[in-house]
Subunit: 213 residues, 2 copies
């Protein structure tokens, strides 16, 4: 498998964690977003959405990080990223999607760029926007993790799941955006437990071959 | 099952279609978003994210439309919303998520409201924003549907899937936002084929008990 990735893309970071957790070997093919390599015609032929990640499996191109992770779960079921019970699976997927749908896309680089041009917003306003959607999402997630009795060492019990795979890259972004994480002790605790695992640590942006300072 | 819904919520619209396709009886509990009923303390106790839809299954609350639909797929497998082959499932999920992650959340009411206050944008700028993210997403999706050889009467072959469940509500929103759909003939054709089915037609916003003009 070949993964089209960018060290700072948190959607690619999710897939890197998933591949590591499942011990699947892959080749990393960096696509430099700030140099706009994803807008090149050659990459659009691979992914018409012009987004990373994309995973090449033989002649097939898989896109959308959560669709890729569900594919990995179906084809490489061990170790599982989803629990067995359907209600538990729904909880894990809902946490994953509360990040992957309702935080990350609103803070994606192309949206931030649109706020600057054509909307003409100052960097400070864009930074507030970035923090606002993380804080809104994290407040709800913290309440779930702290009160529904299903979190353990990780978001769902004591094994990492798809929820953790989405959480850690989002916490990384929150730190880069100077979000005050004090109000989210459960999130901070789970993020630390995850990053202590090699599968998460080795997927981190600063450990990637295309990493920059 | 009880569905917390709002006639105009396109995420709730997805779940209504899924429930109808699977012929699952449910009770609709309208949450009026424009009257801010979702921000009430009582609803936050049901869903800390304060978003619809939420599905009550016995004592459990399921949130996030795609997590709910995956749960319905696992517990009510017939008729299926996903094909059998893992690569085909990945394609269907990727189409669904290209809408549910990369179009809809950026155009959600709470984001549009933030553009107006605190960002002070005029209605015309907000309308352009709304159309921009639909057009960006639809351009990529049209290319996939028109060129990868896997669409049939619907997004994936000749049976409706999770991809169609997400597409139809987004096309509905596009029409409300006066998006010119001429550049997307495959999307328009598939949307029409879907809406000819009672499961889609009966889930439409104007057919809901809480519908307004």
């Amino acid at each position: 498998m070949k993964l089209f990735t960018y060290f700072r893309s948190s959607a690619a970071y999710r897939v890197r964690i998933g591949l590591n957790l499942k011990r699947i070997d892959y080749e990393a093919e960096p696509i430099h977003l700030r140099r706009k390599e994803h807008e090149a015609v050659a990459f659009a032929a691979i992914n018409p959405q012009r987004l990373v990640p994309a995973l090449l499996v033989g002649p097939d191109v898989l896109t959308q990080s959560l669709a890729i992770l569900e594919y990995l779960e179906e084809t490489h079921p061990s170790p599982p990223l989803l629990p067995e019970d359907p209600l538990d699976r729904a909880r894990v997927r809902a946490i994953a999607m509360s990040i992957a749908c309702d935080i990350h896309p609103i803070d994606n680089m192309r949206v931030l760029n649109y706020l600057k041009d054509p909307l003409g917003q100052e960097q400070e306003t864009v930074d507030q926007w970035y923090r606002h959607w993380i804080e809104t999402g994290f407040a709800a997630l913290e309440r779930t993790l702290a009160t529904d009795g299903k979190a353990g060492r990780f978001c769902h019990g004591d094994r990492p799941t798809l929820a953790d795979v989405c959480l850690v890259p989002q916490v990384h972004n929150a730190r880069r955006g100077n979000v005050d994480l004090t109000p989210y002790p459960a999130i901070v605790r789970i993020d630390e437990a995850c990053r202590a695992l090699p599968a998460f640590a080795e997927a981190a942006p600063d450990r990637q071959p295309d990493a920059e300072g």
